[in-house]
């Protein structure tokens, strides 16, 4: 394909205007220059600062000292644990509930348009706003969550229950988003497959396991990628629910605490660099599994 189009463009080349190659480079430059200055450079800067101990205007080179400190800091392990618990629990629940919603919406014939619109409501409400709303729903005054559940739980003070609360709030906000991604995947599966399976005597559960799940795999991987990475870098729910307190502090909250609230810049940059590395490694693990499809498709290389 590439060779053909190159051939035609050479033949039909009109000697005015910009050539395609030059235009390609010029078009790419603003995006990538901007990202390099505002995103890539800061990462290098953070790595450099993370090698120093910064006190006011004095900084002293300590090598990997800040990283060693993180490894002996119980609060750091606490933040890692909070992040992992939050990520595993929220992504699992979001996936299961999102799948349920997607199947419901896929089956439905009346009210489908309405549901597809309304399902965007949790997605569009800013996370910090949703967090405040849920925080007050869980608060013992007026005690809405406890009234609904018939329970007497101190959601905001008890560390374990407050973790349950932010997981619940995050699942509320993002399960519909997962449902949307999975629904789009479901709509690409030809109905014939199900009819054929039904004729062959496959029950609904068997059809789900043998047809829906395997064919939905690309959509599932994309949904899991975005959700997992988002959960790993989560800040809003934890901060709005409990500030910098250790009960909910995730990696982002813990790093932010020493970046802004109690500046210890060397250590804070080591923490944010560690967060960056964790998020990127998990993301890369996902992308290396599916990237070729997704990227190849975007590049229009599917034609090959």
């Amino acid at each position: 394909m590439a060779t053909i189009s190159r051939g035609t463009s050479r033949e039909g080349r009109v000697r005015r205007g910009l050539g395609e190659r030059a235009m390609g480079r010029i078009f790419l430059t603003p995006s990538f220059a901007f990202m390099a200055v505002i995103a890539l450079f800061p990462v290098f800067y953070a790595v450099v600062v993370s090698l120093y101990r910064v006190r006011g205007f004095n900084s002293e080179f300590v090598g990997l000292g800040n990283y060693a400190q993180a490894l002996t800091d119980p609060d750091f392990y606490n933040a890692v644990l909070n992040t992992l618990v939050f990520t595993v629990a929220s992504v699992t629940l979001e996936f299961v509930i999102g799948m349920g919603f997607a199947l419901i919406m896929h089956q439905a014939f009346v009210g489908r348009g309405l549901t597809r619109a309304v399902i965007l409501v949790p997605w569009v409400i800013p996370t910090a706003v949703a967090a405040q709303v849920w925080r007050y729903m869980f608060d013992h005054n007026p005690g809405f969550a406890n009234a609904v559940l018939g329970a007497e739980i101190n959601w905001l003070r008890d560390p374990a229950w407050s973790m349950v609360a932010i997981i619940g709030a995050d699942v509320w906000k993002t399960a519909p988003f997962v449902a949307l991604l999975l629904l789009a995947g479901l709509q690409t599966i030809p109905g014939d497959y199900y009819e054929a399976a039904e004729v062959d005597g496959a029950g609904p559960i068997q059809r789900f396991w043998s047809i829906t799940l395997p064919l939905l795999r690309p959509a599932i991987v994309v949904a899991l990628l975005f959700r997992t990475v988002d959960a790993l870098r989560m800040f809003d729910f934890a901060y709005v629910f409990s500030g910098y307190s250790n009960s909910l502090a995730t990696l982002s909250v813990y790093a932010q605490r020493f970046l802004i609230a109690e500046p210890r810049l060397g250590y804070a940059n080591a923490l944010s660099t560690l967060t960056f590395v964790v998020v990127m490694l998990v993301g890369l693990a996902f992308i290396s599994r599916m990237g070729r499809h997704m990227v190849g498709d975007a590049a229009g290389e599917g034609e090959r």
């Binding site: 965007l120 409501v121 409400i125 005054n141 690309p218």
Partner: protein, 304 residues
């Protein structure tokens, strides 16, 4: 032609393979489907209903009684949040999100077109890097950009802390990768022939892009613009780090997300009033642009 006995044999075998079917009666199946949709709708809307009802309740009863139908009801909370300057936060969020979108989308469109269409070396690598860049954790930017802003202030006297630009710059950097990715997918989906014929008719490559492809890509551009806009209205961590208190620039997530630290009384009513004021335009926005949003969110997810 099969004989009668053969046909009976086939029917017997097929009948054995097929499970005894307990068909759900259609009326019941429909009722179940509608009930399922009702669950999805309730899930998405009840926190919003709770928020709206709570925002209208005032007085001691409202603060301590979980029954959301218990008044007295009035608009006092709304008056109070406007007195606190919430309308400035709404304006600030709108300006920041609009500026982010207006800068991000043209820049990303150029890159998306180059990646989808123009001859470039290392396209696959560039797209992979773009995809990885969408995962960037914002916490890694907090300190480097903060320091960068301080230096810029020292050298030029322009303060980016507590300014719109201080938020818009990182938002553009963080939204560019996803916008480039979505737009590449959309540009790749436009038939090449249309462009080729424009070139045959004597258009330069740039004219072919600007006059022919850009109008055809409008739906993709719209989808990318909406997602960028929503990202910018949602962002909390960087806005909270770079513009935490100044009402002239403070965005809605910061205003609402840090609210409980301002008042000494339980400010539940005001927080919910503010939440309603920001949610209504965003929800209207999501409902009106539903199709574009879904197209943007699911581009890539369903391919592969």
């Amino acid at each position: 032609m099969t004989s009668r006995t053969e046909r009976n044999e086939i029917a017997r075998v097929v009948g054995r393979a097929r499970r005894p079917r307990r068909k759900v009666p259609p009326a019941l199946a429909n009722a179940l489907k509608i009930a399922g949709l009702a669950v999805v709708l309730l899930w998405c809307l009840f926190p919003f209903l709770w928020m709206a009802m709570t925002s209208l309740r005032t007085g001691a009863d409202a603060l301590t009684d979980p029954n959301i139908l218990r008044g007295p009801f009035n608009l006092d909370n709304y008056r109070q949040v406007v007195d606190l300057g919430f309308h400035f936060a709404l304006r600030n969020s709108l300006v920041v999100a609009a500026l982010t979108t207006l800068i991000c989308i043209p820049v990303a469109s150029l890159a998306g077109y180059a990646l989808a269409r123009l001859p470039l070396a290392g396209k696959f690598l560039i797209l992979s890097v773009t995809l990885v860049a969408t995962l960037f954790p914002p916490v890694a930017l907090v300190n480097p950009l903060y320091q960068m802003y301080l230096r810029i202030d020292e050298w030029t006297g322009i303060s980016l802390l507590n300014s719109y630009a201080g938020m818009v710059i990182p938002y553009v950097a963080l939204t560019l990768p996803l916008a480039v990715f979505i737009l590449t997918t959309f540009f790749a989906g436009i038939p090449k022939e249309i462009e080729e014929s424009a070139k045959v008719d004597g258009a330069t490559p740039f004219q072919a892009f600007w006059r022919v492809v850009v109008p055809l890509a409008a739906p993709g551009v719209g989808a990318a613009a909406i997602l960028t806009f929503v990202y910018a209205t949602n962002e909390f961590l960087l806005a909270f780090s770079f513009a935490p208190r100044d009402l002239n620039v403070q965005t809605v997530p910061v205003f609402i997300g840090t609210f409980q630290r301002v008042g000494y009384e339980n400010p539940i009513g005001q927080v919910m009033a503010a939440s309603v004021l920001v949610s209504i335009p965003l929800i209207a926005f999501a409902l009106i642009l539903q199709r574009r949003i879904v197209a943007g969110l699911t581009s890539g997810a369903v391919k592969g």
